[in-house]
Symmetry: C4
Subunit: 234 residues, 4 copies
């Protein structure tokens, strides 16, 4: 994740988050009001803030104005609604991972199955090598609401190329240089969680040699997509 | 379920039920004309009544006017169509659970699988602790059409925090302080029935300690959502 | 199946078949151009004919005018396109089951799984007792294109209350007093094929005593739906 | 595959590819920007070229103008965007299989499960005999980006009637006399991958005798569809 563009302004981030939240719905990653996306943004004074979904609001009723702006401690600085109950976790990630521009949380069903067994998803598909560069790791069982989960996300992802982490008995958190990249990681995480689940249902998948995983990951991160829009960019 | 707002008027309930029935379709909980939602309402004289789906009518053709109004014994008091064949079960719940403002019945497929084996769904996901506060219990095998199922719903839910019950070899009933809350419980019941099914397909999920289940449930019921719209409200 | 209304006219049947074919798509029962629905109808001279989907035409491009009218031997009598390659099977059913007003064929995926193993679907859900009155039986492995399948459908359904039959290594045929009732049977067949599949994935479903199956079937066939539209009518 | 019509012009192919890519989405074969369709076409000078999806572009944003025209070595000859990173594989197929007018690549989930285990999909459904004339074979584990995959596709399909091949730990490639036929093969490949997966989950499917597979394949390839539009044509 080497994206170095300036963070979006708050209004731009608010607008982007409407469409990105609908992506979670369209890709079948969320049920009812669960799940959330946030983006790191820059406010009118040039300060870094985060913009996040309000807590418990229907996806169909989300608007740019309903998004909540918080500082990087998770304190609301603009918006009339309470922020996502996962705000402290997002904020922790933004404080400790200055390269991260977006964070996504879902309870997508196949990923949750791996999370409930506390098993990492093994890297047995080229699409998984492309996006995750190896297995998707599992973080510890944690309470919700304070920054415990944020700490676990950062600690678990350390040393992995994966932008996704499964939290034990809970769900998925993904990160990216932009909120859109984090949403992509959440979509691909469920996609591979599902295919690898299917593969294991009728036997044991064959493994991909680590050198090929490296080669696939490197190619995808550098050669896939458009020249001025490599894979890790918006 | 501590919602104490006045019950909606009959016309308001009729309108709400149109959208809530479409939610069952949109969330994949029903096939053809199966499934139904009812709401406790107050009629023009201030009496408590229930409003429910007509029997065997296509979801796409449901209108506010087609909903059927019954007294709390299940006798039709307004509407030109026959009410759901599960009316007696809904009526029994309203009579014996004065806190209940809405009841939902579905044959959602993953929940039906647990129901066909008569196995409660174990609480191995934080989203399940949030909404159900523990396992989703199973009621007995019952005939359909009289109040046997209503009795079984009330008896089985006694002592559980779960607003959902699986009826053996049959399907799901959920309750809530409002019809909308009961629909949410039906959506979340299928969501967790599915993820826990997936988890069990490849091994045994790890358990969540009971103290953490309690903590997650308490937090979700009190801190999730908007301050003036806690989770258990409309 | 005691529906005794006159069969629809050819033009009415053509129109109905457009919507009913879209129901197959909306319910996920068909891929690409597979599957078909036919209706028994009465032509301008009062003769019984059948109206059926043309072969290999996209669902999105079906119109009333593209439907093909055949006599009850399967010979085209009106329409510029070739009829479904399953026409001989449908025609055989209409000739030998004068109570049948509609026939549906699909390769719906969960039903196909039971069909590939040549296993009847056991009746372990009340919704299955309601609609099928017992297990869904399996017919023999057959070639396609002549009336071999038609014979197998009629012979296999003899002695069953089920309006659905699985054809070995092939798919589903359903019958009904109307084409709409046959489509409903196809939708419910896949719905129960799926839930019972899920149930078996994690254990053995509990059985429903035969007396209760009878009681559920009888109630559903006589008391479900609207008084002037019992379950088996259009 | 005996289709002998002239290849479409470049503009016609560009237009067709928009709709065909949306078919991949509508049939649930692709996640995010993965997957691609190409068509062999004839340019203004009468030379054979291929038209293909640009790399890493959202399906919802694909237009005829964004498609990329390459020669049959995979070198871009028209279009402002980089072509699919699978372009060399497509080009190899067009060079070595002069009968092929379209190539499709997906990571459709059930097919990927068979691919991850490197198991061919056995031919246990009549719909599979119809379209594939036998099992769907598996090609070797390969790197992505050069023509290694193209070679493997051509070599693996040699001696098979199947227009689909699973690439080990990767996904599906399908071919056809037209791009539309290749998309159909991709749709049917996932459909049978899924049904046969379901069949194996609860036991062992019964086999179809090879003579009947032959008979079903022959009938489908010659008698299915409209007389002037046999199954293998556009």
């Amino acid at each position: 994740m080497t994206y170095q563009a300036p963070w979006p302004g708050v209004d731009e981030a608010r607008e982007q988050l409407v469409g990105l939240h609908l992506s979670l719905v369209d890709n079948g990653l969320v049920a009812w009001t669960s799940g959330n996306v946030s983006a790191r943004a820059r406010d009118a004074r040039g300060q870094e803030v985060m913009v996040i979904k309000p807590s418990g609001v229907d996806y169909a009723e989300l608007t740019a104005q309903k998004m909540v702006v918080c500082d990087l401690r998770g304190t609301v600085v603009a918006g009339g609604l309470s922020p996502s109950s996962d705000t402290a976790a997002h904020a922790y990630v933004y404080r400790h991972r200055p390269d991260v521009g977006g964070v996504v949380h879902t309870h997508s069903p196949y990923a949750c199955a791996w999370a409930a067994r506390r098993e990492p998803i093994p890297c047995v598909l080229s699409a998984m090598a492309d996006e995750f560069g190896g297995p998707i790791p599992v973080g510890p069982l944690s309470a919700i609401g304070d920054d415990t989960i944020g700490r676990a996300i950062v600690a678990t992802l350390d040393g992995h190329r994966s932008p996704a982490v499964l939290m034990a008995n809970h769900g998925v958190f993904t990160i990216g240089p932009t909120a859109r990249a984090a949403v992509k990681a959440a979509v691909m995480c469920e996609d591979v969680a599902r295919s690898v689940h299917f593969a294991h249902q009728l036997g044991i998948p064959k493994s991909i040699p680590p050198e090929l995983v490296d080669r696939l990951y490197h190619r995808y991160q550098t050669a896939y997509g458009q020249r001025d829009h490599p894979v890790a960019s918006p």
